[in-house]
Symmetry: C2
Subunit: 185 residues, 2 copies
């Protein structure tokens, strides 16, 4: 038996609208969104946890780097479950780490630490938890990108309208750092 | 380069003692603990996130059910990455779900919902996030069980002293429900 719920985010979601309801979601059936070439799937949002944490996956093709950005109030986990993902992160003193994560490897990005990443293999998948005292940010992806009905990666990359870059990141505690340099390689 | 840190939990940990430090931990190299037949590996604790969330894995052999229990203030994620795990959970109205989760499947247990689980295949692995407004509980496992130096599952199951069951669960927002019945099968 598969339950579907009308929520504030989807007409038919596997995530219950009421936060005190236990649930199971099969692989791939969370709330899906496309942003550029990536598929983001939300399995739990801030509503489920009194804004303590969220839980989502990001899947993508081998591709371009996700540009450097920072969160003022958000801690972020990168836990790789498929493929390989190169994580770049800079600490508060300006020291930089660059590491390729493969399945089972874990990366942690504290608030205020600039970071970026790049999928190094096709069909890579990262589990993300992104939350902090200021809340969670799982709906950033579909607000900058677009909600998706289908399963699987975008057939064509979804490129947001330029005006959204001026508005959406700020709403979700994301600040892009266009002049940031990675000196690690 | 692999960094090791002295923390309040380990003399040599891959998790930095300072919460604002980014880091990477390779598969299996988090803070390890044994409890019964299971290996618990903590990759991030409450210290890293201002108590917003934690991140750990539980690996075990095909085995007995983990007895029914409940958390008054803690939300919990079960995300299976290897093998198969049977999740039992009851909602606040007493309705019960029993589902076998395989890799990529996700289960969510709100606070105050009784739950239990059983590894259904050898070498199963679950990613856990267990946190809520009351904090995080990742050190429950090593406090009831024991910290482990080696990699891999316990060679012999670690059975806690009986007196610890009266003390440790309460400290970590865990309440066992010895009379609980699963009516799902």
């Amino acid at each position: 038996m598969t339950m579907e719920y009308a929520t504030r985010w989807r007409a038919a979601s596997r995530i219950p609208a009421e936060p005190d309801k236990p649930y199971v979601i099969e692989k791939g059936e969370g709330d899906r969104a496309h942003l550029f070439g990536d598929l983001i799937t939300v399995y739990a949002g801030g509503e489920q946890t009194e804004n303590a944490f969220n839980f989502f996956t990001v899947e993508g093709p081998k591709g371009d780097i996700i540009p450097a950005h920072v969160h003022a109030e958000t801690y972020e986990v990168f836990y790789v479950t498929q493929g390989a993902v190169r994580l770049f992160v800079e600490d508060l003193e300006g020291e930089q780490i660059e590491r390729v994560l493969t399945p089972g490897d874990f990366g942690f990005v504290p608030k205020n630490c600039p970071h970026a990443y790049r999928m190094e293999r096709h069909h890579s998948q990262v589990v993300g938890v992104a939350a902090g005292p200021g809340g969670t940010f799982e709906r950033f992806f579909e607000t900058l990108g677009t909600p998706a009905e289908g399963l699987g990666l975008p057939v064509e990359p979804f490129v947001p309208e330029p005006r959204k870059f001026g508005v959406v990141p700020r709403e979700y505690d994301v600040r892009f750092l266009p002049d940031h340099q990675w000196r690690t390689s």
